[in-house]
């Protein structure tokens, strides 16, 4: 009798543990709620992208048909063909890559120098330098951009990639402050022992930096370069002011998509199916982020683990 009761109690406890969890596991109810919640938020998060992708695959007839919401009636790539031509894709793609990769390589190189100097040497006024670095992150671009633009105009550098490379060479590239902090944190977390040993062996400071500190900071380099590349790619305020008329990047071309489309397909000259519609625009938008998506999925580990690896949050 008593044993039976014990058994029942035990079963109940087991079921309860299964559903509600214990100290070691979350339990069924919680797990299901967790996944549902994450999936729902994930869907809302990706909604603009899904909307963009589905719409960009719709043919003009699908667009007009109210029955077609999420599944186009067929695979239609006409929008992409048009967007490809309007964006002048091969040319703008190459200049977008150049305009984002070159400054970011320079930024990473210069920021590693600055970050090392801040992490390894106790010099007078270091705190002031730190405060000023943070200030450069806060100052809006429009408070400094006009005199720069006028200077570049005098030097004949407008529309030239050097307009972006010059500031980067002096640690004033786009969001350089963040990369300086990343390198600062990285070098601070590296043990000093090796460098001190090398110094006792008579190695110069520069040699120590290049041969011991830099190789150890490889993750910081990768993180800085990919983030800088992405941010330079997406930056349009400075690129429009400095490069307009010389270099066309993908986002710049997307910004004047309507105008470029009408140059290729004059509104009065083409039939109704070739007029500019939202499907073509969204195809253009998708082509715009496609290289970034590819880069993201290839390097996703570096992106999402970056904050932990670089210790940017600091203590």
């Amino acid at each position: 009798m008593e044993g039976n009761l014990m058994l029942k109690k035990f079963d109940l406890a087991k079921i309860k543990t299964f559903l509600l969890g214990s100290r070691t596991s979350y339990g069924m109810v919680f797990t299901v709620v967790l996944y549902l919640l994450l999936l729902a938020i994930g869907f809302v998060y990706l909604y603009p992208l899904l909307f963009m992708f589905v719409t960009s695959m719709k043919s003009p007839t699908d667009l007009l048909n109210p029955m077609v919401q999420w599944v186009p009636t067929g695979v239609y790539l006409g929008n992409y063909e048009k967007a490809f031509r309007v964006l002048a894709y091969p040319t703008t793609l190459v200049s977008s890559i150049l305009v984002s990769v070159l400054p970011s390589l320079i930024t990473a190189a210069v920021c590693s120098l600055v970050g090392y100097g801040l992490a390894r040497y106790r010099f007078t006024g270091k705190n002031i330098v730190f405060a000023l670095i943070l200030a450069t992150f806060i100052i809006p671009a429009q408070n400094t951009v006009i005199p720069q633009m006028l200077t570049y105009k005098d030097l004949g550098l407008l529309g030239n990639i050097f307009a972006l490379l010059l500031p980067a060479m002096f640690g004033q590239g786009y969001r350089s402050a963040i990369f300086i902090l990343i390198f600062y944190q990285t070098f601070q977390s590296l043990p000093k022992v090796l460098e001190e040993a090398a110094r006792l062996d008579g190695a110069s400071d520069l040699k120590i930096f290049f041969q011991i500190a830099l190789p150890a900071a490889l993750p910081a380099f990768i993180i800085s370069i990919i983030f800088s590349t992405v941010w330079y790619w997406n930056e349009t305020y400075l690129t429009v002011i400095f490069l307009e008329g010389g270099i066309q990047t993908l986002p710049m071309q997307l910004a004047k998509f309507t105008q470029a489309y009408q140059n290729l397909y004059p509104p009065g000259m083409v039939n109704i199916f070739d007029r500019l519609n939202e499907a073509v625009k969204l195809a253009g938008t998708f082509l715009n982020i496609l290289p970034l998506l590819v880069m993201y999925f290839v390097l996703q580990k570096w992106f999402v683990e970056s904050v932990e690896r670089s210790g940017v949050t600091g203590e």
């Binding site: 998060y45 671009a141 010059l166 002096f170 715009n288």
Partner: protein, 295 residues
């Protein structure tokens, strides 16, 4: 007495040496800061005190003292309105971003399968967010809460509201996903500081009978306070620097407008910068730990 000095300093003192090499490494940045930040900043400020005309040979300055500032704040019918909208939108967005990224970070901090997949999703917008892309998506209505904005009930509800309430609510509805899209970096920052909290503190609390709810308020939240300030500041700065920001677009437009000009837009830039600093200061005051505030 020379043998007392360690050989590696080669005759110069430790202090001088640290200064020499320290500045050696930071040298490039200091030059750059002077040339690409301080000088243009001062020049922009000088422009803001002048009527600037661009001529074939260069630029002409006509001193007008504070007239550009007065015009922006008093005469211009748009600028102050845009500044107010910007401030309200920022103050609406920041708590949403903070709370949302904190919740997502806490969910992602749990142990479950496919964690990497969800982390990848939540970070994706950081990679693809650029002005023109957002502009296209907003124009096609892809950034509003799915199926909400076009509902008759919502439109009716909005129409009933007083104007000062309607704008933020409308902004919230039409740009909700956009606001969430600005949370990617903040989620990761929260996640990394959540992982730094010592697990044994939670264990000790639960042995003492604390519920999960109590642990959150008494352990998790206080441990995240510094991170919250960093995240709030980051959110404000990225929102304020975003090229689709209406104030930035207005200032940019005025730079090349006939009746605007460089002087006027420079004055507006400084007013905008000042408001940005003010918002940052308010955030710091609100979020800094209570103990310090009472002191």
């Amino acid at each position: 007495m020379t043998e007392r000095k360690p050989f590696r300093f080669r005759g110069i003192g430790l202090r001088t040496r640290e200064n020499l090499y320290g500045y050696g490494f930071v040298f490039l940045w200091i030059i750059g800061f002077a040339v690409f930040t301080v000088v243009p900043l001062v020049q922009t400020f000088l422009f803001s005190l002048n009527q600037v005309t661009v001529t074939a040979t260069g630029i002409d300055l006509l001193p007008v003292q504070w007239a550009n500032y007065a015009r922006a704040l008093v005469t211009d019918p748009n600028f102050v309105q845009l500044l107010i909208e910007y401030a309200i939108e920022t103050l609406v967005s920041v708590p949403i971003v903070i709370i949302f990224s904190m919740i997502i970070a806490m969910l992602l901090n749990l142990k479950f399968k496919f964690k990497g997949f969800f982390r990848t999703i939540f970070f994706l917008p950081v990679v693809i967010t650029s002005g023109p892309v957002i502009q296209e998506l907003t124009a096609q209505g892809a950034t509003s809460v799915p199926g909400v904005t076009n509902t008759a009930a919502i439109t009716e509800f909005l129409a009933q509201m007083p104007g000062y309430l309607r704008n933020p609510v409308e902004y919230l509805l039409t740009s909700f996903i956009l606001i969430l899209w600005f949370s990617g970096v903040q989620i990761l920052i929260y996640l990394s500081s959540l992982q730094k909290i010592d697990k044994s503190v939670y264990e000790a609390a639960s042995i003492d009978g604390a519920s999960a709810w109590e642990s959150f308020w008494k352990i998790t939240l206080p441990s995240l306070s510094t991170t919250t300030i960093i995240n709030a500041a980051y959110t404000i700065i990225t929102l304020s620097h975003f090229s689709e920001n209406k104030v930035i677009k207005y200032i940019y437009g005025q730079t090349y407008a006939v009746q605007g000009g460089i002087g006027y837009s420079s004055a507006m830039s400084f007013l905008y910068f000042f408001l940005l600093l003010l918002l940052l200061a308010v955030t710091f005051l609100v979020l800094s730990p209570r103990r310090e505030r009472r002191r």
